[in-house]
């Protein structure tokens, strides 16, 4: 009962981490083969398709790109995707597969939604079932769920090639990476998960919404749709944009405890696996393990704390005589105890809290409980996980490349302390890398703080805030934290579907994605051009527990120091007021 967590709670956390690690290690090895262009067990199936795609797209797979070409291709592709999706959402009324005859989106909502899915954020200012046609969901959003995730992995691949390259300016071919990642990694995994979820009752239909008649004689519209196909990639690609407004709390998206487990594992699966991919590709598995360890050592304590805080519940209810103790005695008296507000009884406290931390540690953003209803400190944990810069596992690809930016900063400070100019994996870290790394860390922080300030200061921003005081502040802070770090989860409680929030959050997502991604590619280019210095006893080892601790220290310190004043004015003061009574 340590931390007030039930033994069942501990068991679920431990099993979750064990299952995650067990799946991530082999997947990581497989992804490394795919990214290195090696043959793998899916090659017999896809090699011809792959060749066909290159032929159609006039891609010469052996033509490697410089970092600038690579970046240009990423921008071109993302911008094209944005225009396509933006246009589609503006015109969905006349497009097919719209049995509910849902109208076109307003321009600000279309902008926000298009940016959101292209940047792998999946912030949703809308309610899916009352806003988007099946066509928009499938052809628009699901396509971006795949390709925006692939872009993240591709940029990571380019960075790894930069780290391993020897005095070269070549980082691989973006189009090849894009095709291979989709074909060999995302599609097969999504297929497996979609089938597994269907078996649990996640629906998949093109039929129009069902009208049910209740016992009272009232009629009720039940939204349905092609959910399973979107659900799988939504979880796997750290997208998080739900088919329904209530996301994975909806029984058609997430019907059973087993579907819940599959979805939770899918959230962190690829980001965790990429650590091992990294280790394999740079030829030193220990480096990958060290990064995985750093992520896990931040994730597990925070998750345990979140479970504990939710299990502890609200002191006022206890004082009022409510029984908030967990009880597993029998069906009649069984209850989860703690703070169950906004949580589904199918999942209980542990699975809601693990989901909340996993979805914010990774930049997934899907929810199976309402974060707004968490206790103040319980809600602070998902927020701080995003504020760490989405590097605790993080988004697919983007999490690890963001983490490597922090590694570069850590190596810089720690490296100096051992009396050498800093280096990582034998590559010297100079002024250019530090400039780019600083930009990548600085920009999301700036976006969150400045936009939150604008929102709480202007009438348009204040108009969306429903809750009073510190809680209202937390909601705004959470929204911009989520957008600028490309998470996409919402605290809820904020009315964000207004031109003001749609535009500002849209810009946050856009800048938060590309002004991290571009510096990372620039770093990759600069590192590739350098020679690798062989390791010696004088080299700072970056796989040791000490380095892992140092790395965690830097991430936590940067996150906490940047956001401490804001957090104090939000969740912390709310918590203090709560316990004070």
């Amino acid at each position: 009962m340590f931390l007030g967590i039930t033994s069942a709670g501990w068991l679920q956390l431990v099993l979750y981490m064990a299952a995650l690690t067990a799946l991530a290690v082999p997947l990581g090895g497989y992804v490394a083969r795919v990214l290195s262009g090696q043959r793998n067990w899916l090659s017999p199936v896809f090699t011809r398709v792959e060749g066909l795609i290159y032929a159609m797209g006039d891609v010469r797979p052996d033509q490697d790109m410089t970092w600038k070409d690579y970046a240009a291709a990423v921008i071109l592709f993302s911008f094209g995707g944005f225009i396509l999706l933006f246009g589609l959402l503006l015109t969905q009324g006349v497009l097919p597969l719209n049995p509910q005859h849902l109208p076109n989106l307003t321009p600000d909502l279309a902008f926000n939604t298009a940016v959101s899915f292209v940047t792998n954020t999946n912030w949703q200012s809308y309610a899916g079932e009352t806003t988007l046609s099946y066509f928009s969901q499938m052809v628009g959003l699901t396509v971006q769920n795949f390709v925006s995730a692939a872009v993240g992995i591709a940029v990571l691949a380019a960075l790894i090639r930069g780290l391993t390259g020897q005095t070269t300016d070549k980082l691989g071919n973006f189009w090849v990476d894009l095709v291979r990642i989709n074909l060999y990694i995302l599609l097969p995994l999504a297929l497996i998960v979609a089938v597994a979820l269907s078996s649990q009752g996640v629906i998949q239909t093109f039929a129009s919404y069902v009208t049910a008649h209740t016992l009272e004689g009232a009629s009720q519209t039940i939204a349905v749709g092609p959910v399973a196909s979107q659900e799988a990639i939504k979880m796997l690609g750290t997208n998080g944009g739900g088919f329904f407004n209530t996301n994975s709390a909806h029984p058609f998206e997430n019907p059973t405890p087993l579907s819940n487990l599959i979805e939770m594992l899918s959230i962190l699966l690829i980001p965790a696996a990429l650590c091992f991919t990294f280790g394999k590709m740079i030829g030193d598995r220990r480096q990958g393990i060290a990064i995985f360890a750093a992520m896990t050592l931040v994730f597990v304590p925070l998750t345990a704390a979140c479970i504990g805080l939710e299990q502890a519940g609200n002191p006022h209810l206890v004082a009022a005589g409510a029984d908030t103790a967990p009880n597993m005695e029998g069906p009649a008296t069984a209850q989860a105890g703690g703070n169950m507000e906004g949580k589904d009884t199918r999942f209980g406290i542990a699975n809601s809290a693990i989901w909340a931390t996993a979805t914010t540690a990774a930049s997934n953003g899907s929810v199976n409980a309402m974060h707004d209803s968490f206790t103040p400190l319980g809600g602070l944990i998902p927020m701080i996980l995003m504020q760490f810069g989405e590097v605790i596992y993080g988004g697919v690809g983007s999490g690890l490349y963001g983490m490597l930016v922090f590694v570069i900063l850590t190596v810089f400070i720690a490296g100096l302390m051992v009396g050498r100019t800093p280096e990582y994996l034998g590559k010297k870290i100079g002024a250019f890398e530090i400039k780019m790394a600083s930009m990548a860390v600085l920009l999301p922080c700036a976006l969150v703080l400045i936009c939150t300030a604008v929102a709480v200061l202007t009438p348009w921003g204040q108009a969306g805030i429903y809750n009073p005081g510190a809680q209202g502040f937390s909601e705004v802070l959470y929204a911009f934290t989520s957008a600028a770090n490309n998470n996409g989860s919402a605290f809820a409680g904020l009315s964000a579907n207004t031109p003001f929030y749609n535009s500002l959050l849209g810009l946050c997502m856009l800048f938060g994605r590309f002004f991290v991604l571009l510096p990372v590619l620039a770093i990759a280019g600069s590192l590739a051009a350098k020679r690798t210095v062989p390791a010696s006893a004088g080299t700072l080892p970056t796989h040791t527990p000490l380095f892992v601790v140092f790395l965690i220290g830097v991430i936590v310190l940067v996150g906490v120091l940047t956001y401490a004043p804001a957090l104090v004015l939000g969740p912390v003061i709310e918590h203090l007021n709560l316990i004070k009574g």
Partner: protein
């Protein structure tokens, strides 16, 4: 060359004066971190002025006048302390710069034109390629190469070494430096540096550090610090709207005042490292100068920290420059006593270190009496390059010693033979890395003297230390591979290059660099220049040629090849100090948050009082204590910045552990204690 101690006080006063002069915004703008503090000082001072003029003004944010005044006061001191650190660091090199400047004074030069006519011109009009004649008593007007003549030169103005040195044309000692004085004879010098670019100018520039350019790593660190500063600037600036919103929603309390925001900002931005960064760089350079090494670029000093291959000359670095006799091996039918006596006699007049060591060994180990060459009325045969033997003729005895083949040739002429046993001994000694000298009397071989290269007693330990730090040592020698291998294993070097020529050295360096290694080497001759130019850290001996000095990026005024190890240590120390103070500076912020945040929002959210873990007596005292701590820590760390973090030879992981504990963990804990103590002090004084 260190400054006399009585100048210490003037240094200090000068530094204080300069600290105040440097409040000039144009100067401050060079350092973004301290510039922000400077701006903060201006703003708080303005607020104070307005508060004094208009009591109860809204700009004061409800803070008492004395509080704003004290904050402004301490912010100014934060800037001053940082200026002071820099000035103090510079001041230490000032005495040296002054004496160097004396040497630079404009002198007259006798310029030689093409027809051979001498005209007197000012030294400052000399250009590269001109030739001048310098005679006894003259000051050398410019850097140059001796093309004719030989002279003894007093170089003490630059090296601090008062013994004169010989400079002559056509050898490895042809470089003369402007500002040195010719003591005897004359030389004709071809000028190799335009005015303003001479060695002396470079030295003065380095020592004065006014022209100091930021080194690559320093630039990178400055960028990181600027980025951190920006983050904190945003965190603090946005706190005003957040506070406005919170007050409006909470319906109680007052909005955070500008003064407190600035105080928080100054405490959070990395002022400790920002204020000391240039002092660290300057004093690193000065440690080098103190070791009598002049680096022509700061980049080279940083590179010295990165070096992982050291090319060391065998002679003078690994071994003493000369070989010593360690054992006698008599030929068959010759007694040891006989051989020892003959060896001693043959070497009596031999004033070389080898000769003296033979005499010493004979007397020490075989009890021969003291006698001098003069007493013996003997005739000496001096060493000649042709015969390659030396010896003595005494009472009709012809005793000779020399290399095996030379002696063998001579006794063959006299009808003698070298016994097979002696030949074996000669080969054995050569195999062990020693030098065998054969001794013969008339046609008879008496035996062999074993001359050994004596490895310096402390070198093995130092090389082992280098290895611990991951630095590979490579011995460069002209010896044959057999001899080289023997000495290499005795000294414990990791690798050696035998029969080294300028080409093999260059090839070796290139090969290492292709593998990503950073190579350091020492050289003095013109033929070393290509290898020096190729090396990452290239130390030229001051006694060496102009070509070598130009190819290198450092000059060792002591001409001591062992200095390379010291240079590496200084480079490492410089980087370590930067890293340590950066870590310390950032770690400090945690405690400052705990001090300031509860204080800043005390009126809006009194519940935040639980975060006041230090139990600071009042909001004003808390903020003031943090600001004072932040300023004083700069002063407290000046000695560390100037002296550098203590250097120990150990592996990187050990070093990281130790430094992470001291400067990371220590950096987190120290301000909690410091701020609390200052708060207690303020309370006792009754200020708050």
């Amino acid at each position: 060359m260190s400054a006399p101690s009585q100048t210490h006080k003037t240094d200090f006063r000068l530094a204080v004066l300069q600290a105040i002069q440097r409040l000039d915004p144009r100067y401050q703008a060079r350092n973004p971190v301290m510039f922000l503090v400077w701006v903060g000082s201006i703003i708080t001072t303005l607020i104070l002025a307005i508060m004094l003029a208009v009591p109860g003004t809204v700009i004061g944010g409800g803070q008492p006048v004395w509080f704003v005044g004290l904050i402004a006061f301490w912010l100014w001191f934060t800037v001053l302390f940082a200026n002071f650190a820099e000035s103090l660091a510079e001041g230490r090199g000032k005495a040296q710069a002054d004496s160097l400047k004396m040497a630079r004074r404009d002198v007259e030069a006798r310029k030689l034109d093409k027809s051979g006519k001498l005209t007197t011109v000012a030294a400052s009009t000399l250009r590269k390629g001109d030739t001048v004649r310098v005679e006894a008593g003259d000051i050398v007007p410019a850097d140059g190469q001796v093309i004719e003549g030989i002279a003894s030169v007093d170089e003490s103005a630059i090296t601090g070494e008062s013994a004169p040195v010989i400079r002559e044309s056509g050898g490895d000692r042809d470089a003369v430096t402007g500002g040195t004085r010719v003591l005897s004879d004359w030389v004709i010098v071809r000028v190799t540096a335009d005015p303003g670019e001479s060695f002396l100018d470079k030295m003065i520039g380095l020592v004065e550090s006014a022209k100091r350019q930021k080194t690559p790593n320093e630039i990178a660190l400055s960028i990181l610090l600027a980025a951190l500063t920006l983050v904190f600037l945003m965190a603090c600036a946005t706190l005003l709207p957040f506070s406005l919103f919170s007050v409006a929603k909470a319906g109680s309390g007052t909005v955070i005042s500008i003064t407190v925001l600035i105080a928080l900002l100054v405490c959070l931005i990395p002022t400790t490292i920002g204020g000391l960064l240039s002092a660290i760089g300057i004093s690193g350079m000065q440690r080098l100068i103190k070791a009598n090494v002049i680096a022509t670029s700061g980049r080279a000093v940083e590179a010295a920290g990165d070096v992982n291959v050291l090319l060391l000359d065998k002679t003078g670095t690994i071994t003493f420059g000369n070989r010593q006799a360690v054992e006698f091996f008599p030929a068959p039918n010759v007694s040891l006593q006989q051989l020892a006596e003959a060896a001693e006699l043959s070497s009596l007049a031999d004033e070389t270190p080898e000769g003296r060591s033979i005499v010493a060994l004979a007397r020490g180990q075989y009890g021969l009496p003291e006698r001098s060459a003069a007493d013996l009325k003997a005739e000496f045969i001096p060493f000649s390059a042709e015969q390659r033997v030396s010896g003595i003729v005494i009472n009709e005895r012809h005793i000779l010693k020399g290399a095996g083949d030379a002696i063998a040739g001579l006794i063959n002429l006299k009808g003698g033979l070298v016994p097979a046993e002696v030949t074996t001994v000669v080969e054995d000694i050569a195999k062990k890395g020693g030098t065998p000298l054969m001794v013969a009397e008339g046609p008879k071989v008496l035996g062999v003297i074993y001359l050994k290269d004596i490895v310096k007693p402390d070198i093995k330990v130092r090389l082992a230390e280098l290895r611990k730090m991951g630095i590979k040592s490579v011995m460069i020698t002209g010896d044959n591979p057999l001899t080289a291998a023997a000495i290499a294993s005795e000294a414990g070097v990791d690798d050696f290059v035998a029969e080294a020529t300028p080409e093999t050295k260059l090839r070796y360096i290139r090969k290492m660099q292709e593998g990503g290694e950073m190579v350091a080497m020492v050289g003095d001759g013109t033929n070393d220049a290509p290898a020096l130019a190729q090396s990452d850290v290239a130390v030229a001996m001051n006694s060496g040629t102009q070509a070598a000095k130009e190819a290198g990026n450092m000059v060792d005024l002591d001409s001591d090849p062992t200095k390379l190890i010291e240079i590496v240590e200084i480079g490492k120390q410089l980087l370590m100090t930067r890293g340590a103070l950066t870590t310390f500076s950032i770690s400090n912020d945690l405690a400052k948050y705990f001090a300031i945040i509860p204080a800043a929002f005390a009126t809006t959210y009194p519940a935040l009082g639980v975060l006041n873990v230090m139990g600071l007596s009042s909001p004003q005292s808390a903020i003031l204590s943090a600001v004072i701590f932040n300023a004083l820590i700069i002063i407290a760390l000046i000695p560390l910045a100037l002296k550098g973090v203590k250097y120990r030879a150990e592996s990187a992981s050990h070093m990281l552990t130790r430094h992470a504990l001291i400067y990371g963990l220590g950096g987190i804990v120290a301000p909690f204690i410091g701020i609390k103590l200052i708060d207690m002090g303020l309370t006792v004084v009754g200020l708050v």
